[in-house]
């Protein structure tokens, strides 16, 4: 789990199948010492993991990613500059599993777009 060491989230608000929260990053996490030395950037795969972990808390179930058609990493997240990030998710139960569409963004920048299918573990 990257939560709560790498990131925390608060203000989890649900409206229909839409979900919103505010993510705070821990710029002191050891991940940023290696990625990259002297130039901290949140690894893209951690954004995937954050989407999964927020969804798990919301539906109160453990899930596993089955497939993702397209994940777009549109802008780099610098944990020092971008201390607070918004996450917006749409979580839908389908025959094939739990379909999640998500975005990470702030007031000026879209960082990440996610579209994937999870199954319950």
């Amino acid at each position: 789990m990257l939560h709560p060491h790498l990131f925390t989230f608060s203000d989890l608000q649900a409206e229909g199948d839409k979900l919103k929260s505010i993510i705070k990053l821990n710029a002191g996490h050891p991940i940023f010492k290696g990625h990259f030395p002297g130039q901290p950037v949140l690894p893209g795969v951690c954004m995937m993991q954050m989407v999964k972990e927020v969804t798990e808390v919301y539906i109160d179930k453990k899930i596993r990613l089955l497939k993702a058609r397209e994940l777009k990493f549109l802008s780099l997240i610098d944990p020092v500059e971008h201390t607070s990030i918004q996450i917006e998710l749409s979580v839908k139960a389908t025959d094939g599993g739990i379909k999640v569409d998500a975005r990470l963004f702030n007031s000026t920048t879209l960082f990440f777009k996610f579209s994937g299918l999870f199954i319950q573990r």
Binding site: M1, L2, L6, P30, I31, F36, Q39, V41, P43, G44, V45, C46, M48, Q49, K52, K62, R64, L65, L66, K67, A68, R69, E70, L71, K72, F73, L76, G116
Partner: protein, 120 residues
Amino acid sequence: MIDQLITCDEICSSTTFLIKADNVLVDDDELSEAGITENIAQTAAAGFGYITQQNKQPIAAGYIAAIKNLEIFALPKVGEIIETNVAIIDRIFEMTIISGSVKRNGKLLASCEMKIYIKE
């Protein structure tokens, strides 16, 4: 998130990786989806880095710009070794498109295509 670069040429690279319990991307005794994806990205990075070094050029940082058609069939457990293969499909300016797959004992665990931005 790789241990050894096993083979490498201008197009292909392959690595092995032993999953350890203290890995930041291990959850419930399994390498997470994020971990297996990072392993593919780092197999590509190890290949690029090796060739760059052979050509005596400066090493550049790479970032994942997009992942397409990611499929995860199963996740490897702590103590298991995975073998990962990456092939470069295309290069367009600073973007390199690769195809990657991860196997455990020859059985496919995950595959995807990745667009990697290499900052010169």
